[in-house]
Symmetry: C2
């Protein structure tokens, strides 16, 4: 008997939270068991809260694909209660701004205990997925602690000797959840990044992929953080497989979340074409002698942004427009099918 996975095509997806998770649900609906899906999940949003290791993006992918997500919120568990959080507040323990649900806490307790026992985050994630059976292989980008912080003007208004606002780095979750990304971000700093190694299986998955997909996740703090882990971006640049992305920007605004605030911080306009340009065309696709070399072979934009197709195509990136609203699994499967078609991925073999 040979390993059936060795015969199934391999799709590798880099994912953040809700955008990546909903895309993955549609992709899984499309391919069913005819391809193996490996998800490299962002852990830059991870945070230690009340002694618990919380991995918001991994859990959003796991709960969404495992049927446990709150559809209404897009994060955390369905039918959630907040008794523990209310009690922590009654004790006067900070922080109080993070929505730590009771059901969710069970996941964090197990994760924290296993990490404390010496297991790697990738092993722990696999153990948690034993329950949820997400139908994909979910790997954190790294087993090492990498935490995105955001440089902002002091939220309490502290100023320096010249009266200018003092800058402070706050945890990404504080910026995102507590301040709803309303504090202008000067920059993002990934603490622990330089020493972080890709988790076991990440580079192999990229190397052996038949296609690599960037779903409509946040290009800065989700996919950008995954790409920033040493060797991951290079592995994608060098991968034999084609790389196709789906624009998270529709009509000049993020579909959800606050990607515009993140793009502003790194000087990228909030347009579908600018995000494609930020990822950049792969080296083989740029004129000989020209500088650069990015990661995109193809880019799918919304119908609303059809006028940017020519601009993206001119940069050496195959581009097309299609409806991009992930309203349900069928609609999302159609988006995935369109994206895979852009890089001539063996649609015939996996299409319904």
């Amino acid at each position: 008997m040979t390993n059936p996975d060795a015969q199934r095509p391999s799709i590798v997806v880099l994912a953040g939270g809700i955008g990546g998770a909903r895309f993955l649900r549609g992709l899984r609906h499309l391919v069913r068991d005819r391809a193996q899906i490996t998800v490299i999940g962002n852990t830059g949003d991870d945070i230690w809260l009340h002694g618990l290791r919380v991995c918001p993006d991994l859990d959003t992918v796991m709960y969404t694909l495992g049927g446990g997500i709150s559809e209404e919120r897009g994060w955390g568990r369905e039918d959630e209660t907040f008794a523990v959080k209310d009690e922590l507040t009654a004790y006067g323990v900070e922080p109080t701004w993070f929505g730590l649900g009771d059901r969710d806490i069970a996941t964090h307790l197990i994760r924290t205990q296993l990490l404390g026992a010496g297991y790697a985050l990738s092993d722990v994630t696999a153990a948690l997925c034993d329950r949820w059976q997400p139908g994909v292989r979910l790997i954190p980008m790294s087993d090492d602690r990498v935490e995105t912080h955001v440089v902002v003007d002091d939220p309490d208004g502290a100023v320096d000797a010249h009266g200018a606002p003092q800058r402070r780095a706050i945890h990404f979750q504080e910026w995102w959840v507590r301040y709803r990304a309303q504090l202008p971000a000067h920059s993002f700093v990934q603490i622990g990044l330089d020493d972080a190694k890709p988790a076991p299986g990440v580079l192999e998955a990229i190397d052996e992929a038949d296609v690599i997909v960037l779903p409509p996740s946040n290009p800065v703090v989700s996919i950008g953080t995954i790409l920033a882990i040493p060797r991951i971006r290079d592995a994608i640049v060098d991968a034999p497989a084609p790389v196709v992305g789906i624009s998270p920007i529709i009509g000049g605004a993020p579909v959800r979340g606050m990607a515009d605030a993140c793009l502003s911080a790194i000087g990228v306009p909030t347009t579908a074409a600018a995000v494609a340009e930020h990822y950049g065309p792969r080296r083989a696709r740029i004129p000989a002698g020209a500088p650069g070399g990015g990661i995109l072979d193809a880019w799918l934009v919304a119908e609303t942004d059809a006028d940017s197709v020519a601009e993206v195509t001119a940069r050496g990136i195959t581009c097309a427009a299609a409806p991009l609203l992930m309203t349900d699994d069928d609609a999302t499967a159609t988006i995935a099918l369109a994206a895979l078609g852009l890089v001539d991925f063996d649609i015939a073999g996996i299409a319904p």
Copy 2:
């Protein structure tokens, strides 16, 4: 200004869980702010569960005196929910037999995080009591980890080469909660006992007490464990203050809990007189040249056990009978008043 505490009489109480906690509520009701009450709490029942440090007896005292206890169960929080526990079960994580409530978990999270940050259990207990304002000073018997285990015949029926049951030591909570103390206990083993030190303040409180009270807590696994911490029993034997106990046995059975199963294991009959004999009369009260030297000056038994008064008295322990059912705070205050009266504690000064 002098410290008002220096002028208030000091009452020291050794306490386990529900029996000790309910007695303390009546005692506090009796003395109001006219005496300082210091509680030395049993931590031998403590257990690490899912990475959390759980201190059942400390929490029962804290919640009972702080108004947060479940009156119906006698342990854990009122209006409790069990979402985290249900989720842990859904993950297939053991153990599943401990009733870990959501509200309760907040307490354990704070405790575990502070312990992890290097704070001593006594400091953590004081911090938790900041919220609950129990009206007493609650000190764990020790900051060191001491865990009571119970030696039983293998619950799964394992036998040795001769067909005899193999013995195993299981955690006290497993014996008490999972097996409802129905597995015969061969003995109790306190792991960590030899190296445990009394927590800061314990020996000083005993030394400076005006009266020391043993409430109707379990004489083996609650008060017995506190007394087993090196130097605590000796400190009580040598304390200037009188020591009075309230029988946890009424009419040959424990008022609540399963003290009879614990007494059997150490060969003490389940009678009020036998428990007094087990604690033993203080040295000054036994005939010159006779062996021994215990900790009791006086012992209060239930009216049902009035016929044991003579037997206890003959052993050199002042003894009387009184109604001992702690039906409410008034009834319990009356019990406390009777106990304090047995050792001529300054009742006039503190009685209502």
